[in-house]
Amino acid sequence: MKKSYAIKRVLYSVFVFVIVMALNFFIPRIGVADPAERYYPPQGNMTDAQYEIIKQLTREQYGFDVSTPQQFLNYVGGLFQGDLGTSFRSGSPGVMELIVDRLPWTLVLSVSTMLLGLIFGIMIGVIAAMKRGRWQDTTLLNASTIMIALPGFFIALLLSFFLGFELEIFPAYTDPNMVSDFGWNMTAILRVIENAALPVLSMMVGSIVGYAQGTRNAVIAVTNEDFILTAKAKGLRNTTIRYKHTLRNAMLPIVTSIGMSISGLIGGQVVIEQIFNWNGMGTLFLEANNMNDYPLMMGIMLLLSGFTILAILITDLIYVLLDPRVTVGDRR
C-alpha cells in the first residue's frame, strides 16, 4: 500500500469528521431561539418573570449563557477530554456515561448478527452461485425477494410471538435481570445468549439475505473472468479455484457492505431493540429524541458519524490490500 495514499485518506477522514462535528453542533440549534426553552418549556401558572429566572439559571447550568461560537469552542474542548456534555434527563447523567452503559449491549446484538450473517450469508451465496439456475439458487432468489419485502419489525414480532410466547423456546423479551445480574460467569453469559437469540435471529434474516445475494452476484461475476478459466485450464482443484481465486476476488463488494453496516452496528436496530426490550443504543437514541434531549442526540450522532468515517477509512485501506489496483484520486 502506498504510504501517501494512506496519509491522504486519514487526513481526508479527519477533515470530514471536523465538518460533521460542526454540523452536529449547529444543526440542533437552527430554529431554536433559546435552548433553555427546550429543557424547560413554560409551565402552569408560572409568571413570565419566574420563567425568565428559570431560563437564565438553566442557561448557566448547561453553558448556554455564552455566545454560540464560545459554546462551540467549549464543546470541542470537552470532546478532546472525552466529555460529550450532560444529558437533559433527570439526575443529569453525562452523555458519555449513558452511551458507555448501552453500547456494549448493542454490540452484543450487532456483532453477533454481523458475524453469523456473514458466515451464513457467504456460505449460502457461494452455494447459490455454484449451483446457478438450480433449486438452491432459485430458492435463494425467491427467499431474498420475500425477506426484503418483510419489514424487520414484522419478523421480530412473529419470532417473539411464536418462538417466545407460544413455544417458549427463547425469551420473548429480555429478562429484566439480565443486565442487573450480569457477571463474567457461565450462567450470566448463557442468559445473555438466550436473551439475544431472538433479536439476533430477527436481524440476521435480512443480513443473511443481503450478504448471500451480494456474494452470489460477485462470485458469478468473478467466475466468468478469464483468470478463473486459466485456473481451470491449469487443472487446479475446484475448492482451490472456489475459495482461493473466486471468493477472494469476490470479496470487494462484501467488504464494502461490511464497512457500510458499521454505523448500524453501533447505532443498533431501534425497532428490534424496542420489541425485545433490549436496552441498547437504538432505544437510547429513541429516548433522546422523545425527550428532546439534544445533548444526548448530538453525542450519539457524533459517535455514529465517527465510527462510520472510521469504518469507511478502514474499508478503503483494506480495498487496497485486496486489490492493489485501487487508488483514490489517482488520475493516471
Binding site: Y40, P42, Q43, N45, I54, P93, L157, P171, N177
Partner: protein, 622 residues
C-alpha cells in the same frame, strides 16, 4: 452422515440448554409470594428518583409511591383527603378556625373577613399526622414541609420550574436568594412573631401558610408538591450545589439514586435496573385500613418495562404480568373477549378532546381563509357539523362519551351545567341543515365537488396534529366535507407550541382539556384569557367571559364560585372556540388469576391506588 448427526445433536443440546436456562415470563407464574407484576410501556425506566426532577415515563408514578404530598384531591367530592396532612382550614386574624358547626369550611365568614382589600392573602392552618416517618425511620415534621416549600420558592437553590409553579400561590418569595416575604410559619420559623399561637406540644405538627386570595390557591401546594426530607437535603444543597444541579456529584448524586421518602412504598435498589423497578410496602406507613391493617394489599410491586405495546399485551395474555399500567387502544378490546382471567377496565375519561380554532391570529399570520375562523357564524356552523357519536364509534370503537360544549365532564356534579348543551341542539341531520344554511350566508359559492369557495379558492383548513391523531383528523375531514369545507392533516412536529401554536401559525389544532375544581383557577385563565405562551392558542378575547373568570377566581364564596363556573360553561360553548369531539374512556387490562377485586377509577388505568387498597390474592383452587 455421522458428522451431520453430531451437528444436529450439538444444536439440540444447545437449544435445550438455552430453553432450560430461564424465561422472564415464568417468574410471575411460579411466584407464590404476594408480589404484583406490573407491565409498563415506556422507552426506558429512570435510574434517578429525585421526585421533583424525575419526569420521564414512569418516574412520576414511582415518585408518588415513594413520597407524599400534604393532601390528595378527591375529584368526586372536591375535598382534600389526608396524606401527610391530617386536616386544614382557613383561620381568622387570631388564628381561630373558620369552620361551621359541622366542621366544614365557613366560606361566608371567610368572605366576610378577607374580602376586604386590605388583606392580600388568606391564612391557612395545616395540621400534620403525628406518626409520619421517613423510610429511614426519621419522624416527619412541619420543618420538612417548611424546607420543601421554602426550597421550592427559592430558585437560587432549586431552579426547578415545577416547584416554582407549585408554590406560585404561596406568599413566600425570594429575590436573588434573599427571603423578601415570609409566608410559611412554624414554631421554629416565626409563627409567634406573626401572632400565631402554636403550643410546644404541637411544634412538629402545626404550621400556618399565607396563600393568594383565591380559593384554588392551596390546590397545587397541597397536592403537587412532594415533601422532601430536610435531614437528607438541607445539609447538601446550597447556591453552589443547587437541588437540580446539572452535574450532581457525591452526596447529591447518591441521594438522587437512593431515595428516602414518606410514601407507602420503598425502592429495592438491588433488584431494580433500567428494565425493572421493584418496590416494597412499608409496614410502618402511617395510614392504615379500617381494620388497622396495611392500607395497600400487596407486599411487593415489580414494574417490568415493555417498549412495545403489542409485546406488553401479549405478556399479559400469556400470564407474564398481572396488570398493564398503560392505556390500551379500543381496537384491542375484542382481543380480550376470548381469554379467561382477564379483567377489562373501561373507566370514564376525564379529558375532553377538542378542536381548537385560530380565531385571532397575530397580524403577520392573518390571511383571508383564517379570517373566516374569526367569524363566529362559520365557527358555529363547524361546531354544528361535529357528530361526536360518529367520532366515538369510528375513532374509539365506541369507548368514549360525548362531551358538553361547556367542556365540563358531567360527573363534576357540583358545577356541571347541562344548559351548555343547548348551544348545539337537535338531531344531527337538522344540525347539518342549519350549518349549511349558516355558511350559505357567508360563503355561498361552491365548486363542482361541492366545496365552498372564497374569492375563487376552495375553503379549506389544515388541522395540526400528531401522527396518532391522523385517524381522527380523517374523520373530521369526512364531517366537514358535508358542509363544503376541506380539511387536511398538518404534522405538529416535536415542539408544536414554539413552532406553531404560540406563533399563530395554524388554522386548527387538536387539544385535550381537563377542568376540575382542583385546576380551574389556573386552567380557565390559561385556556381562555391569557394571550401569549399559554393554552389559549387561538388567542380568544371575550371581555365578558374574562370578567366572569376573574370574578370566579377571586370570590371567596364557594357557592358563588360554583355558580360562576356554571355560568361560564355556556359562554365557552357559545364562543365555538374549543369544540369538543369526545371524551375517551380509559381502557386497561389486568389478570384475575393471582389477584382480583380490581377497581375502576375515572380517568385512571386499573393499576390505581383504589385497586392497590382492595386487591385480594387468589390462591389455587379458589
Amino acid at each position: 452422515m455421522h458428522k451431520k448427526l453430531f451437528l444436529v445433536g450439538l444444536l439440540a443440546v444447545f437449544f435445550f440448554t438455552l430453553h432450560a436456562c430461564s424465561n422472564p415470563g415464568r417468574q410471575r407464574m411460579e411466584d407464590e409470594t404476594n408480589t404484583l407484576y406490573v407491565g409498563y410501556q415506556a422507552d426506558s425506566f429512570p435510574t434517578s428518583f429525585m421526585p421533583w426532577l424525575s419526569r420521564e415515563g414512569i418516574a412520576p408514578t414511582v415518585a408518588s409511591m415513594m413520597y407524599n404530598t400534604l393532601f390528595a384531591f378527591d375529584l368526586d367530592t372536591g375535598n382534600f383527603d389526608p396524606l401527610i396532612g391530617k386536616t386544614w382550614y382557613y383561620v381568622d386574624e387570631a388564628g381561630e378556625p373558620l369552620l361551621t358547626d359541622d366542621g366544614e369550611i365557613d366560606y361566608e365568614r371567610l368572605d366576610e373577613i378577607y374580602s376586604c382589600p386590605s388583606y392580600d392573602y388568606l391564612p391557612v392552618k395545616v395540621i400534620l399526622h403525628d406518626d409520619v416517618t421517613w423510610s429511614d425511620g426519621t419522624p416527619l415534621t412541619v420543618e420538612d414541609v417548611y424546607f420543601s416549600y421554602d426550597t421550592g420558592a427559592n430558585n437560587a437553590i432549586s431552579n426547578h420550574a415545577g416547584a416554582l409553579a407549585w408554590t406560585a400561590d404561596l406568599q413566600h418569595s425570594y429575590r436573588d436568594g434573599v427571603l423578601r416575604r415570609q409566608g410559611i410559619f412554624t414554631y421554629d420559623h416565626g409563627a409567634a412573631e406573626q401572632g400565631y399561637v402554636i403550643d410546644e406540644v404541637d411544634r412538629d405538627t402545626v404550621m400556618y401558610l399565607h396563600v393568594d386570595k383565591i380559593l384554588g390557591a392551596v390546590s397545587s401546594l397541597f397536592t403537587s408538591m412532594l415533601i422532601l426530607p430536610s435531614h437528607i437535603w438541607e445539609p447538601i444543597i446550597s447556591e453552589d450545589n443547587p437541588l437540580n444541579s446539572a452535574s450532581p456529584q457525591g452526596e447529591l448524586l447518591f441521594h438522587y439514586r437512593n431515595p428516602v421518602g414518606s410514601g407507602p412504598w420503598t425502592l429495592d435498589l438491588d433488584a431494580s435496573s433500567g428494565q425493572q423497578i421493584v418496590m416494597h410496602r412499608r409496614e410502618d406507613f402511617h395510614l392504615k385500613d379500617d381494620d388497622e391493617g396495611p392500607l395497600y394489599k400487596v407486599d411487593t410491586i415489580r414494574f417490568l418495562l415493555f417498549q412495545e405495546i403489542n409485546v406488553a399485551i401479549y405478556a399479559l395474555l400469556k400470564g407474564h404480568i398481572d396488570v398493564l399500567n398503560s392505556t390500551v387502544s379500543a381496537n384491542y378490546s375484542r382481543l380480550f373477549d376470548t381469554h379467561d382471567n382477564i379483567f377489562v377496565s373501561e373507566a370514564p375519561g376525564t379529558f375532553a378532546q377538542t378542536l381548537v380554532f385560530n380565531v385571532n391570529p397575530v397580524e403577520s399570520e392573518r390571511n383571508p381563509m383564517r379570517d373566516l375562523l374569526s367569524n363566529e357564524t362559520v365557527r358555529r356552523a363547524m361546531a354544528l357539523a361535529v357528530d361526536q357519536q360518529f367520532l366515538i364509534d369510528m375513532v374509539l370503537n365506541g369507548a368514549g362519551e360525548e362531551m358538553s360544549p361547556g367542556l365540563m365532564p358531567s360527573h363534576m356534579e357540583d358545577f356541571y351545567n347541562p344548559d351548555a348543551w343547548g348551544v348545539i341542539e337537535g338531531d344531527y341531520e337538522a344540525r347539518l341543515l342549519e350549518a349549511n344554511a349558516l355558511l350559505d350566508t357567508v360563503i355561498p359559492d361552491r365548486d363542482t365537488s361541492g366545496y365552498r369557495l372564497l374569492e375563487g379558492d376552495r375553503v379549506g383548513f389544515d388541522i395540526l396534529g400528531h401522527p396518532g391523531e391522523q385517524d381522527l383528523i380523517s374523520y373530521l375531514e369526512v364531517l366537514f366535507e358535508r358542509i363544503g369545507i376541506e380539511i387536511d392533516y398538518a404534522p405538529k412536529g416535536s415542539q408544536p407550541e414554539r413552532t406553531y401554536l404560540y406563533r399563530s401559525r395554524f388554522d386548527m389544532t387538536l387539544q385535550t382539556t381537563i377542568f376540575s375544581l382542583q385546576n380551574i383557577d389556573i386552567m380557565y385563565r390559561a385556556h381562555f384569557v391569557t394571550i401569549g405562551e399559554t393554552s389559549n392558542y387561538g388567542r380568544l378575547i371575550d371581555a365578558d367571559m374574562n370578567a366572569q373568570i376573574a370574578r370566579m377566581r377571586s370570590t371567596l364564596d364557594l357557592d358563588e364560585k360554583y355558580e360562576l363556573i356554571k355560568s361560564i360553561q355556556p359562554m365557552i360553548a357559545e364562543n365555538y372556540y374549543k369544540v369538543p369531539l369526545y371524551s375517551a374512556n380509559v381502557l386497561s387490562v389486568a389478570r384475575t388469576d393471582r389477584f382480583d377485586n380490581w377497581q375502576v377509577v375515572p380517568g385512571a388505568t386499573v393499576f390505581n391506588g383504589e385497586s392497590l387498597q382492595n386487591l385480594r390474592r387468589v390462591h389455587e383452587g379458589e
